[in-house]
Symmetry: C2
């Protein structure tokens, strides 16, 4: 008998019909002789609605109170899902994050998990019940209700899977798995059957929305295999695993990730002397601006240009800080560009295959796509281009790196428990 953790995201539990549908899948999994732990998100737009309610009540929103407010969303889903299971004759019991002992630090809204006790889940399973856990939440060392940050129900699921030594952790969502590219942008995109933690981590960092970055980090660090799949089609999805063995059939590139969520700021003609970067990026960090890529041109005439990208949402904050610092350090101007796209190639095979970057740049050059910024890791190359070039560039790279046809990875699937 296997122990399976199943996590259902917001679209999977958006309304009563969806909740009954996922309850049927849980019942089916249980009827095959498995123990099942279910982790649920808030229903559809429930979290957004609660945030809008808070916005209309008060501009002052202490983290502790926001956590008290937002955690109700997942509790509602957990209770309703449990009732739906009872209606199917499946004995089940709902738990809050606090009740299952998801112990966190004392930071509200973005608490980090310190320990997962899981005693009540174990008791429920031992009694033959399905445990339905409200995702996204825990209880702090100070006994306060905390939340783990947006999208962190995935994290709840992988942390519980680890604590309970589960055989599989299924992440149900509204897509059928992880794709070689966003199918809305690259129609030839194909679903990957398997991807490594490292690649998934780079994809999430490069802007893929399928899995939250912290959940992948946790799963990698604790080696919890994830199965990303659809709660609408129920087909086999993508396994995210600790893929150590090399495989001759493995392609060099696993996917092309596109991201339109960032903006670019350029500080023009900065005096080229030590400490300038610190003067610029320290206040940005202090203001919680998430700076992503940074490029500094080579100096000429004693000045240099510094460009960086950050989420569009942080643009207003960033620009006012940058304009102030630019005045102080005697830079000539500050420019910003909202019409940028970030395009990344991700692939573990890159490590042992030289010339990937050169081939990427050649492909883009042949397509007349201008590159504004470049950043790389051992298994990822990202470029910033004009947002107008996004589709052309992504499709061209997808074709050039052989992702359009065949199977991206031909190794056998992990056995379905």
């Amino acid at each position: 008998m296997a122990l399976i953790v199943q996590k259902y995201g917001g679209t999977s539990v958006a309304d009563p019909d969806r909740i009954r549908a996922i309850a049927e899948n849980v019942a089916l999994t249980k009827s095959r002789g498995n123990d099942v732990v279910v982790v649920v998100s808030a229903m559809g737009k429930a979290t957004d609605n609660l945030i809008a309610l808070a916005d209309s009540v008060s501009k002052v929103q202490p983290g502790r109170e926001m956590d008290m407010l937002l955690t109700t969303g997942e509790r509602v889903t957990a209770a309703l899902t449990t009732m739906a299971l009872h209606a199917l004759g499946v004995d089940a019991v709902s738990f809050t994050g606090s009740q299952v002992g998801i112990i966190t630090d004392n930071v509200h809204r973005k608490a980090k998990i310190v320990e997962v006790k899981g005693d009540r889940v174990r008791e429920a399973l031992a009694a033959g019940k399905v445990a339905v856990v409200a995702g996204f939440q825990g209880v702090s060392l100070d006994k306060e209700i905390t939340t783990l940050g947006r999208g962190a129900s995935d994290l709840t699921a992988s942390a519980l899977a680890k604590a309970l030594d589960a055989d599989a952790c299924e992440i149900y969502t509204d897509v059928t798995g992880v794709f070689t590219a966003d199918p809305r942008i690259v129609p030839q995109a194909r679903k990957l059957h398997r991807i490594s933690f490292d690649e998934m981590l780079e994809m999430a960092g490069a802007g893929s929305k399928v899995l939250a970055l912290r959940s992948v980090e946790f799963a990698r660090n604790h080696n919890v295999p994830l199965h990303v799949r659809s709660s609408f089609t129920w087909e086999q999805g993508t396994w995210v695993t600790d893929e150590q063995e090399s495989n001759m059939e493995e392609p060099i590139i696993s996917g092309v990730v596109t991201d339109l969520s960032e903006s670019k700021v350029t500080v023009v003609a900065v005096p080229d002397r030590p400490g300038i970067s610190a003067l610029l990026f320290e206040p940005l960090a202090a203001a919680n601006v998430n700076v992503d890529m940074i490029v500094q041109n080579t100096s000429h005439d004693g000045t240099t240009d510094i460009s960086f990208t950050m989420p569009k949402a942080d643009m207003a904050t960033a620009e006012s800080i940058v304009r102030r610092v630019a005045d102080e350090i005697g830079a000539r101007d500050v420019e910003h560009d909202n019409a940028i796209a970030k395009i990344s190639l991700v692939g573990a095979g890159m490590k042992s295959s030289p010339g990937i970057a050169a081939k990427m740049f050649r492909t883009l050059a042949d397509l007349d796509v201008n590159i504004a910024m470049i950043s790389t890791s051992t298994i990822r190359i990202s470029v910033v281009t004009s947002s107008a070039d996004l589709e052309k560039a992504a499709r061209g790279l997808h074709t050039a790196f052989g992702l359009d046809s065949g199977e991206a990875y031909a190794a056998p699937l992990p056995e379905r428990k």
Copy 2:
């Protein structure tokens, strides 16, 4: 410095504007040098909406899961109210029933309070903060989330007032206090400045909706003075107190209570032998039918008629049980009547004033109102009439017992803290 518990009901916190309005009243109370504990209900129709959601997900609704679901309503209000207080510069902190140590028995949906610890409320007050508590909920001896029954946020407020030895417990609602009659039925109805626990208890039992019966019971048993008042007009309301001293100006009757929520069932020509009543009412009790008034006619020809009233909502359950029992015991027929009204006179002065019942019956007879059933306590007389006679009867009694003009009670008000 006084300690004041303020409870705000669903209409008082129905939307963001209302929540900001009550936060201002809390801030005002605090600025006068008082310590304030706020107890809140769920926003407007929030509880009804959650119940409708559960109904659309599953017909099977375990009490434990309903409690997990419904308690989120008050938590949302508590968090939002706390944020609204912060926006006004008032330091405040929200608590769940569990966090303030409202310990209950293990009965879900209608849990009884076993103990109120209140440690975290005391700590918050000592730190100069307003404590905002989610009403209606507690935590059971088995560490499960429980609810105290519909309308039980009043009970949370009085229980906290008792545990904290508060100087006053203000119950804010959408009416300005307790009236001598329902102003929609008796336009001459006046607001009472003061009423005794015993009278309020009889009024609640007779169908008055201003305060929930259990809350009045608790307040009486623990001598917690309640001040029922409006969160829309903020005017002085009605004090419900342990009114021991007699007062010459006290009227004999405090109010006329009308109730259209009940139905009547009559079992016709029941064989008049011992044990028949038990055969009838035991299965009704087992089915949780709340039987109110019972009348058994004197026997003639060896048979008797048994009539009883119960909430309209219980009618379907009651009738099927009664028809079965009627067959078993050989009764001739079962009749039911939905068009009934219960009209009650309540007044502590009744105890020492003979002839109230006679005067009531004479007044109704003069108005051509037929009496179907009668029940009495030491300070209440209730009659059942046709619902068509409700207004005529209530207005006539209101006039006959001198409630139309002057002050119902002229004693000085308790000092406003």
